[in-house]
Chain length 154, copies 2
DNA sequence: TGGTATCGTTGGACATACCAACGATTCTCC
DNA sequence: GGAGAATCGTTGGTATGTCCAACGATACCA
């Protein structure tokens, strides 16, 4: 088998954007396969993680925490309600809003999925030492914060 | 505006997979906007870059260089042929195959898009110093090579 | 009370990644 | 020389993630 260097053009290989994109594809494959075994998909984890950390909130708030479009929040919450992992109730104070809460079953599923995520990170970063993982995380965090702040300040 | 630390759950923020995925989303936005202005999209650049570096080849070879599924190669080459950027001819030696070649107009478009890609990398990584960009590139390359080799050795 | 903003929903569009099945062609082995 | 396996390219999808517009209901403010 030829090494990757002989297959991918340098015009791509030298580009961090390409490296990030392709690594993301591999990560998504690992994540989707692992979550699929637990009858979940990435959006479920994102919503459950948001509710677990920030507590109950409106759909807009949950979407902001989870980084999801409002319409995708609706669809994801529909699926989680169907599985008894979250509850959707009307806000008595403001009837425009729903209040989304995690259920005990949702907390249990979050704990299960959290382990899955930890395993997937280990597998994704297995060629790196702990120090290199820290370095990668720090550099990516800085890039992501820069772009996230730039977006929300428009 | 609240800093990102107050918005995203730690369960996501601490995960390199999440950082890579979200950074990739930002990269894709920048890239698609910039390429769109040049009437191109990411698959076009991948195919042109492969032909520019490796020369003419079959669709399977082009797909392997560009990291594209065979059916996506067909669609992308269709678009590039329509725009006069590549040529598709039958292989006289093996009538199962087509030979894909870049045209002079394709080379010119590749040079134009290559500048676009360079600008997008600069914008994507603007919060990092040159040394940090090298570090990020090295770490990501190692991770990507590991997973690409693992995939092709199955 | 009218105008603006917010919330949630519905109904999409689009790009990327990926897969199965098929017909035409090539190659190998008996 | 022919059967079987493999390759090539194409067609026709599916799944997922990201993103957007428009609408009705509701809340708030001047």
């Amino acid at each position: 088998m030829r090494p990757i260097d002989d297959v991918t053009p340098a015009a791509l290989r030298k580009r961090p954007g390409w490296l990030i994109g392709q690594t993301s594809v591999h990560h998504h494959r690992l994540l989707t396969a692992a979550l699929g075994a637990a009858n979940a998909r990435p959006y479920h984890y994102r919503v459950l993680a948001s509710l677990q950390e920030f507590g109950s909130g409106s759909q807009v708030e949950v979407g902001r925490h989870a980084g999801l479009d409002r319409s995708d929040v609706v669809a994801t919450i529909d699926e989680l309600v169907d599985r008894g992992l979250v509850e959707r109730t009307a806000d008595p104070i403001d009837r425009r809003r729903n209040i989304i809460s995690i259920t005990p079953a949702g907390r249990a599923q979050f704990r299960r999925l959290d382990k899955v995520l930890a395993n997937v990170q280990d597998e994704l970063l297995s060629p790196l030492s702990p120090k290199q993982r820290e370095q990668l995380t720090r550099l990516l965090s800085r890039v992501l914060e820069y772009h996230t702040d730039a977006l929300s300040e428009r």
